[in-house]
């Protein structure tokens, strides 16, 4: 069947549209060739984000800064009434907002750190003004050292996390795959932090949770692509006319639909959390989780394709073997362009053996059958390469 496949492809080009090709994993997008473009794009975003981070900083919630929040459910109390009460406690600078949720309207008052007695008094005063029993007031009070503690803990967790993941990827794949994964991680976190800084959205512990989730996703995405790369590694050879970069590109195209589907499947629940949970039903905490997740998820999907993989290609192309292969392919480039079919046939033939032996080996290098069909487009793509 391989033979017929090879014979057909050039003679009767497939009439699939771009979506069809995407669906069948036959896209020929040159991700690696435009590495500079992606890196520049990311660099611009990162610079804007970092600039904002250093100039505007982050809008840290009371969990990080210390302070107290009182949420007083009341349909009647106005913001100015609440301010009057709060001013009586020397908290003229308190942030006072009207919040609407599923169960009605409430007034949220955020003050600096209060000592325990004052905090109770203020709560009682607000409750009295709103004409409700004090127990109905939601109170959150955070000491000044808590933020430091949890920030430190989160940072430690992050460092250990990165080390362990590096170790894991090094053992499971190789060190050179760990580096791009980490780079993509840092990229995603910085982008998310940048968006938070630019938008002035409040950073809460929920945001930190979301950020850590993003790390998980980012790694997850990267591993799926790298698993494919690992599997395709044996395709890289001068005879096949496939350089390491070409192979990474091929792997990316093959997993593109998976990456998209996964991102869609992950974004749907989060959008639901954001739109239904937070906007429709007014649960603010869900919004805190959802927003950071959404930004990070999109960034994660982007970075696994446009940052991690090109970086891997760049690093691997420096290895003597891969450099050599690349040089040989380039010197033969002209010939190949002249008669692509020949190379195509050679490529398929080289893989012919494996096609007949539909590998059960789950391991890394165990390339397979699928390669055979996916190879044919390759030389054509190379030919069209800009």
């Amino acid at each position: 069947m391989t033979a017929s496949d090879v014979a057909f492809a050039p003679a009767q080009p497939r009439k699939r549209g771009p979506l069809g090709r995407l669906y069948h994993g036959e896209t020929k997008i040159d991700f690696i060739g435009r590495t500079k473009l992606w890196f520049t794009l990311s660099a611009i975003f990162l610079i804007i984000g970092l600039a904002s981070l250093f100039t505007r900083g982050l809008n840290l919630g009371i969990d990080f800064e210390g302070g107290a929040i009182f949420q007083v459910p009341s349909s009647t109390m106005s913001v100015s009434e609440a301010r009057d009460v709060v001013s009586g406690f020397g908290q003229g600078g308190a942030k006072i907002q009207e919040v609407t949720s599923e169960s009605g309207r409430s007034i949220s008052v955020q003050t600096d750190t209060l000592d325990p007695t004052k905090s109770v008094q203020l709560r009682d005063a607000l409750a009295a003004k709103a004409n409700i029993p004090p127990e109905q007031v939601n109170r959150q009070e955070v000491g000044p050292s808590w933020g430091k503690e949890i920030t430190q803990k989160a940072r430690n967790a992050l460092i250990v996390f990165l080390l362990v993941i590096t170790l894991y990827i090094t053992i499971r794949f190789e060190f050179k795959m760990a580096v791009p994964t980490l780079a993509a991680l840092v990229h995603d976190v910085l982008i998310t932090v940048g968006v938070y800084s630019l938008s002035g959205l409040e950073v809460t512990p929920a945001t930190v949770v979301a950020l850590l989730t993003i790390l998980g996703y980012s790694i997850y995405d990267g591993i799926v692509v790298f698993d494919k790369v690992n599997e395709n590694t044996r395709l890289v050879s001068a005879t096949n006319g496939v350089s390491y970069s070409d192979m990474v590109n091929l792997s990316l195209n093959q997993t593109l639909m998976r990456s998209l589907n996964t991102s869609i499947a992950a974004v749907i629940p989060i959008m639901s959390l954001l739109v239904i949970g937070s906007v429709v039903l007014g649960a603010k905490t869900l919004e805190e989780f959802g927003l950071a997740l959404l930004i990070g998820l999109i960034s994660g999907a982007y970075s696994s394709i446009f940052i991690a993989s090109p970086l891997l290609a760049i690093m691997k192309e420096r290895e003597p073997r891969n450099r050599d292969i690349r040089r040989r392919i380039e010197t033969r480039g002209a010939t190949r362009r002249a008669e692509p079919e020949r190379v195509e046939a050679a490529t398929t033939e080289a893989n012919g053996e494996e096609v007949r032996e539909p590998v059960a080996v789950p391991a890394a290098a165990g390339s397979s059958s699928r390669v055979a069909t996916n190879i044919p487009p390759r030389p054509r793509k190379k030919g069209k390469r800009r």
Binding site: K15, V142, A206, M271, S272, A283, R370, A372
Partner: protein, 588 residues
């Protein structure tokens, strides 16, 4: 292979259905909710200075006892790193609870005056503490520092004996009990002896007050051992409730060792603090001669105060008519050993008695804790009203279900019949997840928080992805010309490798987060980790067998719009031989 596949399919479906049915009918119905979903108060405490594990655990035991005393339903007190997180759902007096929970627990050595029955009117206890009362001279405020030797040595011991229940340790003879709620072992009342003189110890083999006899306390009402009241400080009235906060130079009414069921038999009247727990240098449980004891080492500076107390008690003078010293932690008597000698020359002291390994270790722990009590600082207080909690839960649930439904819809549109596998798989996954959560919340005190709900919602994405990875692999396989049936197995082998690699990364992340962080992040990590493990489980035992079973149906495989082939992007079957048809090869 096929057979084992069918078996595991049946197994997992039966497991999910049966367990879900059990959970919904008998097994607890729904998980315990975190405070952010249920409403309530949570307090995070942290020691001011670095504390070790033992100290923190002891501090938690003390807090638990206090919280139990407040009558809070289902309190949750956990240690997260160096933090102690106290969750109090539905507590009535929030302000009082917050205050009580954060107080520093002190260990004290006090003279034992005598006992009173439980559940008396406050007046009875107040009277006992008044200067003119039964224990007036014993509980009289100590004017000077505790190091001054007892001045009232003139009081004849006989007269004291007549007015006081002779046997302080009587009710405790029941057993070296352990309070089940606190985990704090309450050792039996023992003796104090100088540890380096075992020879002289034998000469005092029959310590008069020590023999844990069953003598009823004379001259007072029976201590009502049948009471079913919990170890509530209020068993000893308001005075008992105040015991832990009363200044050191005043007498107190403390609760006696609780029994196994948490009830207490008597209230102990104690004199002013003679020696504070900080005088303890070290304490260890030991078993030198076949019976457990506690080796207590005092700081040199503490010896004088200790001798002062023991001589007063040894002589049973008016300031220690009970004849024993009470070791009090946080207003609760831990042990009241009888000194075997009026003065100890060395700071090495042995507490002997009817100890078991556990009770001796527990007492040693209490003493060590007392030597360096942890001062807890309030880090974070959050009170969520029940309405806000309900809103969040409702919003989270609605959002979760809508999200799940949309994902299912997308999967069916995209993968057609294979999408059904995703829907069923997600259902099995969700059912098992729910059962495990309910089970854990019943048995391990796990509470589902908003962050946890988010973790689960997020893991829907991860779980769905493992199906996507598999189906995309199958797509790859059929493209090389394999039949759908062949692709089921080959695709799975490849996909399994990827799924394990990726899930393992997520799981490592979850474990690390759980281990290294506090609060919301922790809850999130737990549920994420749980869901990821379940994903691996269902992927292996459900996903492949289910797909294999599905493609046995020719109709489901070949149907033009909904079939598996359509879902895998294969050409529709033209003729009658679908299996043999060349796959993915020709043009459209």
């Amino acid at each position: 292979m096929r057979r084992s596949g069918a078996l595991s399919l049946v197994f997992i479906v039966v497991l999910a259905v049966a367990w879900l049915a059990y959970t919904l009918t008998l097994g607890g119905h729904s998980p315990q909710l975190g405070l952010d979903l249920q409403g309530g108060t949570s307090v995070v405490l942290a020691p001011k200075e670095k504390a070790n594990q033992d100290q923190l655990d002891e501090a938690i035991a003390i807090i638990r006892r206090r919280v139990d005393g407040l009558g809070v339903a289902e309190p949750e007190i956990t240690r997260q790193g160096d933090f102690i997180v106290v969750s109090l759902p539905g507590v009535k007096n929030v302000d009082r609870a917050i205050e009580v929970v954060g107080q520093t627990a002190k260990l004290q050595f006090r003279p034992y005056c005598g006992s009173l029955p439980t559940h008396q009117p406050d007046a009875v206890y107040d009277e006992a503490l008044s200067p003119s009362g039964q224990f007036g001279s014993c509980v009289a405020p100590s004017a000077a520092a505790s190091s001054t030797p007892g001045s009232d040595t003139g009081a004849p011991p006989t007269s004291v004996q007549s007015s006081v229940p002779a046997e302080p340790g009587a009710p405790a003879t029941t057993a070296p009990t352990t309070s089940s709620q606190t985990g704090l072992g309450i050792p039996p009342h023992g003796h104090l002896s100088a540890s380096q003189t075992p020879a002289t110890d034998t000469t005092t083999t029959a310590p008069p007050a020590a023999a844990p006899t069953t003598t009823a306390p004379a001259g007072s009402a029976p201590p009502a051992p049948t009471t079913t009241a919990p170890a509530n400080p209020l068993a000893c009235g308001a005075a008992g409730d105040r015991a832990s906060t009363t200044p050191d130079n005043q007498g107190i009414i403390a609760t006696d060792d609780p029994n196994k069921d948490g009830s207490i038999d008597q209230c102990d009247v104690l004199g002013p603090t003679a020696l504070s727990g900080t005088a303890v240098s070290d304490a260890q449980a030991a078993i030198p001669q076949g019976s457990w004891l506690v080796d207590l080492t005092l700081k040199d500076s503490g010896l004088q105060g200790f001798n002062d107390l023991s001589s007063r008690c040894y002589n049973k003078d008016a300031t220690c008519p009970g004849g024993s010293t009470a070791i009090v932690l946080d207003g609760q008597v831990q042990s009241n050993p009888v000194p075997q000698t009026p003065t100890f020359t060395s700071n090495q002291i042995q507490i002997t008695g009817n100890f078991t390994n556990k009770t001796a270790s527990d007492l040693a722990l209490v003493l060590r804790y007392g030597s360096l009590p942890i001062e807890l600082q309030r880090q974070r207080v959050e009170t969520v009203s029940a309405t806000l909690g309900r809103d969040s839960l409702h919003a989270g649930l609605v959002a979760g279900f809508v999200g799940l439904a949309l994902v299912a819809l997308y999967m069916i549109l995209y993968y057609r019949a294979l999408g059904i596998v995703v829907v069923l798989g997600l259902s099995v996954w969700a059912a098992l997840n729910y059962c495990i959560i309910v089970w854990l919340s019943g048995n391990a005190g796990l509470a589902l928080s908003l962050a946890g709900v988010t973790g689960i919602v997020v893991s829907v994405g991860v779980t769905t992805d493992s199906y996507i990875v598999y189906f995309e692999r199958m797509k790859d396989e059929v493209k090389t010309g394999k039949t759908v049936r062949a692709a089921v197995d080959y695709g799975f082998k490849r996909a399994w490798h990827t799924i394990v690699a990726a899930d393992l990364a997520s799981f490592i992340g979850a474990v690390l987060l759980y281990w290294l962080t506090v609060g919301a992040v922790r809850g999130f990590a737990f549920f994420l980790g749980l869901s990821v493990l379940l994903d691996l489980f269902t992927a292996y035992f459900f996903k492949r067998p289910m797909v294999a079973w599905l493609v046995r149906s020719r109709w489901l495989t070949d149907a033009r719009w909904i079939g598996v082939r359509a879902g895998l992007g294969m050409e529709p079957v033209a003729r009658e031989t679908p299996i043999a048809a060349p796959a993915g090869g020709g043009g459209r």
